[in-house]
């Protein structure tokens, strides 16, 4: 390579490296995300927290996110699933709705072999250029997790299922000191799983890598879930800004969101779940209107046309080049 070419190449490489240093020091990336975006538009209607099937959700823009089994850390599990996500906001609260197929409604955890259906959404706690590990975040990028549990929903809707209710044929003479808290140690120390008087079926959690999931001090996420005709819908709702300890949402800004689903009938719990990668959640000031769409046959027609034109042009070009040879 001639010396002038060598200097040109060297100059390009050094200039590129200098630009890279400036970008890195400014915590910027010379790349833009090209993932699917869940857009939370503004709704002027009321979003009922006790009805995930309310018609207000017909105005939201849905996305389908593929979920894969959690194969990164023990206990591994989960299967390939699809979750449909929708989001709305009313300038005060963010509402996220998840929908997924599940043949059975599993909401009892009264026996050791029973596990509840559940769903969760995960956000980075703080904004940054690096997306946290979707394995419950990492020490440099903690995550805020909202987990809805079918068992907690059942506790609210139908009341706490005690031993007597779960085992109707059990024989008990008497429970001494039945009303003294000291004999309910889990409940008396505030174990969330032992609570009988729930106000929300959604657990607000924080994590800084797997194995560090902790219930947050503030249970500020509301919501509900309902199973209907072979599918669940789980609704999450929280104020947009609740302080720096938790994820903050601002209209006309974006953050990241990931999803997880558990099927109690498949003994899924803890790390045995189906998870998605982080997608983009964008809060828009546009008003949600609903409607529109393209038919499947139209898309198929376009795809066939593109493939046909490409194939014909390629084949003709190949034949022409062979003839010229």
């Amino acid at each position: 390579m001639q010396s002038t070419n060598r200097w040109t190449v060297t100059a390009i490489v050094f200039a590129a490296f200098a630009v890279a240093i400036v970008l890195t020091l400014g915590d910027m990336r010379l790349a833009s995300s090209q993932t699917v975006t869940l857009v939370a538009k503004q709704t002027e209607a009321t979003v009922p927290l006790d009805d995930p099937f309310d018609g207000v959700w017909d105005s939201a823009n849905p996305i389908e996110a593929p979920l894969s089994g959690q194969l990164i850390v023990q206990p591994k599990g989960g299967v390939d699933r699809t979750v449909t996500a929708r989001a709305l906001h009313d300038n005060d609260r963010l509402y996220v709705l998840l929908e997924w197929q599940d043949d059975t409604e599993d909401v009892l955890v009264s026996h050791q072999t029973e596990f509840t259906d559940a769903a969760a959404v995960q956000f980075p706690v703080s904004e940054g250029e690096s997306v946290p590990s979707f394995c419950m975040g990492d020490p440099t990028a903690p995550v805020n997790v909202w987990q809805w549990k079918g068992a907690w929903q059942s506790d609210i809707d139908q009341g706490f299922v005690g031993i007597q209710d779960a085992n109707p044929n059990i024989a008990v003479d008497t429970y001494p000191f039945e009303d003294e808290e000291v004999f309910y140690p889990a409940r008396s120390v505030g174990n969330a799983y032992a609570a009988t008087d729930r106000t929300t079926p959604v657990d607000n959690l924080l994590a800084g890598s797997f194995g560090t999931l902790t219930q947050a001090d503030d249970q500020i996420v509301d919501g509900s879930g309902e199973w209907r005709d072979g599918s669940w819908r789980a609704l999450f709702a929280r104020d947009l800004d609740v302080g720096e300890e938790y994820s903050r949402f601002t209209v006309n800004e974006s953050t990241n969101i990931a999803f997880a689903v558990w099927d109690g009938a498949e003994n899924e719990r803890n790390g045995t779940k189906s998870v998605s990668q982080f997608l983009t959640l964008s809060l828009s000031d546009e008003i949600a209107k609903g409607g529109g769409g393209i038919e499947t046959w139209q898309i198929a027609l376009i795809a066939i046309a593109v493939a046909a034109v490409t194939g014909v042009l390629a084949l003709r070009g190949w034949q022409r080049s062979k003839q010229q040879q």
């Binding site: 823009n61 390629a314 190949w318």
Partner: protein, 342 residues
Amino acid sequence: MIGTAVSRPAAASRRLAPLDSLAAGLRPLTITLIAAVLAETLLLRIVVRVGVHVPKHSVLTGLFETASTLGSLAFNFASVLALVLLTLVLTFVIANKRSRAFSPLIALLSAGLFLGLFLTLVTDTPEADALFGVSAALLAITILIVATRTGDLTPAVAVALGLMVAAYLSYEYYTLSYVFYRILDYAAIPPLSLDALRFGEAMAMVAAGAVFFAWGLPRWGLIGRAGGAVVAVTILALTAAGLSPVSTMAILALWTTGVSLFLPFPIYLLALALFLLTLVACFRDRNASWIAAGLLLVLLAGYMAESTYQHLLFLLGIVLLSGIVKEEDTPPASQPQEPRTL
């Protein structure tokens, strides 16, 4: 100059001198880019993600953060170089008389690509994403069509290229369909979007086999024991990772190659083995170094190109694999030379 070597007037050679200079720099720039992409993949996409398994205390936390910072530096360096190289290569394609009929279209799509990239960085609007994505998709199709006109593609190579582009277009449909639905404000799910995503991933696995058939099998004897051992160790390590309690396999799949592992795991192992064997064979063939570079860039771009940077790597890889751009020494007017294939 880039193009067919023929005897031509000295004045024409002088007019093309700037392109000659850039053409001569293509090889070292590509080598530098590949080194940067490998560093980014190792420090950002692999080490940082695998590092979540490591218990954090003072020394390891510091190493973890250092790897993350260096990985970000490598990412930005690779991004800038990818941009520069793609600009260069597309300029050569436009100036190449082999692709003259499509030069205006390629120029238009290139302009759309770079404008879309600039707008996504500055405005982050769906319209910018659409411009970038559509330009990238149409560029990939155009490069494929132009490649068939060069006369150098064997049917096996054409099929391999076609499958790679088809897998890319399937992923593009998944993301772009949502972008356009967002622009058109359609409150519905684009039809067949998830099916296209899964189909594209399956096609990517088939493409690995086609790559081996097109470029690896003819060079089977060049792989050698060392090359075979490297590939075997890699596959065994991934298999062990998948079976072990601490699974790095899924991390590598999801973040490095961008596949969701929805097919049976042995299919991914077989596809990766065939692809790596082809890479080794092409690297060992001095006449196929550009094919190796193109394959490596396509592999590191991954199937789910979640950032604009990965799209640029894929397009660069496809252009290098297509054989459209041919490198040759600038000949004096009286001494025509044979073109040397990249």
